[in-house]
Symmetry: C2
Subunit: 430 residues, 2 copies
Amino acid sequence: MSTPKIQPPQLPKGTRDFYPESMRVQNFIFDTWRRAALRFGYEEYEGPMFEHLELYTGKSGDEIVSQLYDFTDKGDRRIALRPEMTPTLARLVIQKGNSLKKPFKWFSLPRLFRYERAQKGRLREFFQLNLDIIGTDSIFAEADLLAAIASMLFDFGLKAEDFVIGVSSRKLLNTYLQEIGTPDASKVYPILDRRLKIGKESFEMELAAAGLSKEQSEKLDQFMNCKSVNDVDAIIQSEASKEALAEIQRLFGTLKAAGYADCVTLDLSVVRGLAYYTGIVFEVFDKGKSMRAIAGGGRYDSLCEKLGGSRVPGVGFGMGDVVLADLLNDHGLLPDPKQILDVYVASFTNDMDQIFKVASIFRAKGFSVSHPLAEAKLGKQMEQANNQGAKWVVYVDGDKAPEGQFEFKNLATGELGTGTPETIAKIISQ
Amino acid sequence: MSTPKIQPPQLPKGTRDFYPESMRVQNFIFDTWRRAALRFGYEEYEGPMFEHLELYTGKSGDEIVSQLYDFTDKGDRRIALRPEMTPTLARLVIQKGNSLKKPFKWFSLPRLFRYERAQKGRLREFFQLNLDIIGTDSIFAEADLLAAIASMLFDFGLKAEDFVIGVSSRKLLNTYLQEIGTPDASKVYPILDRRLKIGKESFEMELAAAGLSKEQSEKLDQFMNCKSVNDVDAIIQSEASKEALAEIQRLFGTLKAAGYADCVTLDLSVVRGLAYYTGIVFEVFDKGKSMRAIAGGGRYDSLCEKLGGSRVPGVGFGMGDVVLADLLNDHGLLPDPKQILDVYVASFTNDMDQIFKVASIFRAKGFSVSHPLAEAKLGKQMEQANNQGAKWVVYVDGDKAPEGQFEFKNLATGELGTGTPETIAKIISQ
């Protein structure tokens, strides 16, 4: 009976398969993220892979739906695969209310989904590290997050000259827009966000369309061109602007004390598209800015309120895996993706029961162990040991080994020996 | 400006939130799974969270759709959140064809989705460990998987008397059904699968409806009541049945050599619902069988063929997180979910820059470190240190510490001291 050949299904567009070689690289990224987050005292959390659609429309408006994987489930619920983690975080915070001791520092490694055109550095399904500090207005929360970013990028092997954390402040931008008498600031943010992409002429035209005079437009351009805290200080006038700038200065001072002065810079071109940021905003780029942002975030003090809770201040960032992996790859910082094993158990006589027995002995000592799964010539077994990255081979039935001992071989050096499991374990552990 | 209060969105039905306390328990399960899989030489892989719907209907028929989260995406693709990992695995195997060196041992920790009634031990969204061996017909692949199951359940702290791996064989069942002259075996499997639930009377009625005579039905009932290899051996007649039984005997012999004789038993009531199993099948239960199965799996030699590839033998199992966590909880084997930190950095004078500086020093030595994020009285700082599970407090500005040294305190013993970061690090590491 032969069944008609069907075309095997394909990988869905914009998603990835992780064969073991790429999974080891992926796990290197996850492990490094997690280790850094724990070192900074963040606690891990997770949520469901999908949420009720209104959690996202409630935060970002109905226009977000066009970028979502949304659907109606069999119980007629409007559902969306999560495009970001912050709304879930806000839901968790709102649910527990005052029973959560604040401030707290949480992290997550969510898998996220966005229905958009797949291109370099941007996929429809990706992973993102999220760090958030909830429940404090203090600028030292921002300092903690930025120190964690710099520290974890160092963990990956990057140096201060390889990346830069550009810092701006929605508060400062807002007070300056007030200072120069901008009629409607909310119309100006998206224009500022596009500024470097659209060029000076379009920038001025769009500002004019938003109701700014030529003088206001020029002042704003001058402001946006500031490269340092001193530049800004020379321009701003209002008490509110001075206060917002002092906050940035405080942040930079603390990061200097923590040893990360070289990693941060004032970058007023960082606006962040999302409407809900209320204070410091930041983005992390490779030094040449040749790639998309490695990470981005900021302060969002009114998000919980917007979603039906009370006001809870928060600040956080997301760092995606795709751009980060590209950057690490460019710097030769991704690990060797080959399999590594401690021990391969081999047999001259295909004594399978003895193979399983000896494998159990070495696994009980904590070693990773493999062995043939069917009768095979020794040459074939050695080939498999090499393919699987085994460092040592233990022979269960070598005739040079006395009773209770085994022959073994160091695959890197070719060195041979005999010993009890205990002595072999000692040698392997060295 | 006050926005109208909206109802905060709820957690979707059948899914879970993982606040840090439950996330630490969840990570304990993931870590134990992963460590055991690596110890047995399995390599981790992953795939996308959703696949083209036809991958699932191609394997399990159209009736599967009623249990799926399926939808049409914005590119008009029929998509389903993955309900199990095996179809994705088969797709990966088919895609790479002969370039994958076989046999290979892979594992994955997929998150899975099934639209079914949420109840004890069964959720709509859950995690599942999958171990599979692809590319060998050898019964030693089954032995490897069952040894890994027993070994990882021991890792969790369970003992041989707490669980049992029930083993049966679709091959044996099939040869015996042929032996007694069953007209259509495919109709009989689902009835055998329900046998213990529906009782003897319904069992016999359903078999009669499937075309079995009273004599055939009685023979089958006698067969299903066998409790040991010897029981079966006394009944079966055909060469094919004897061969299928010998395979089970071989499997048990090898597991005995590996040290897991007490963990496995012949259990012909294990049939496994899925149509694609072709050889050994098994399920793992708590000893009293008071819960759903902890794990289940078997040999599926024709799956790749069914999905449009060539014939590739495979054997594997899945172990869900929900029933496992319930079982571990019943045995008091889940870890303390509290946060643990190495060091909390405190300050008598709220010297925030110094706090950040000292935190950096201890993090650079690999310790997990937290500290106040805003100015706070020392009592408040100590409360936070305790809440966060800090083992040590380092004071940045204690007046008893000479230049270059810090006062520190062991929070468990109350012991006080002074030292350089290096000497403190040594004490903490002890």
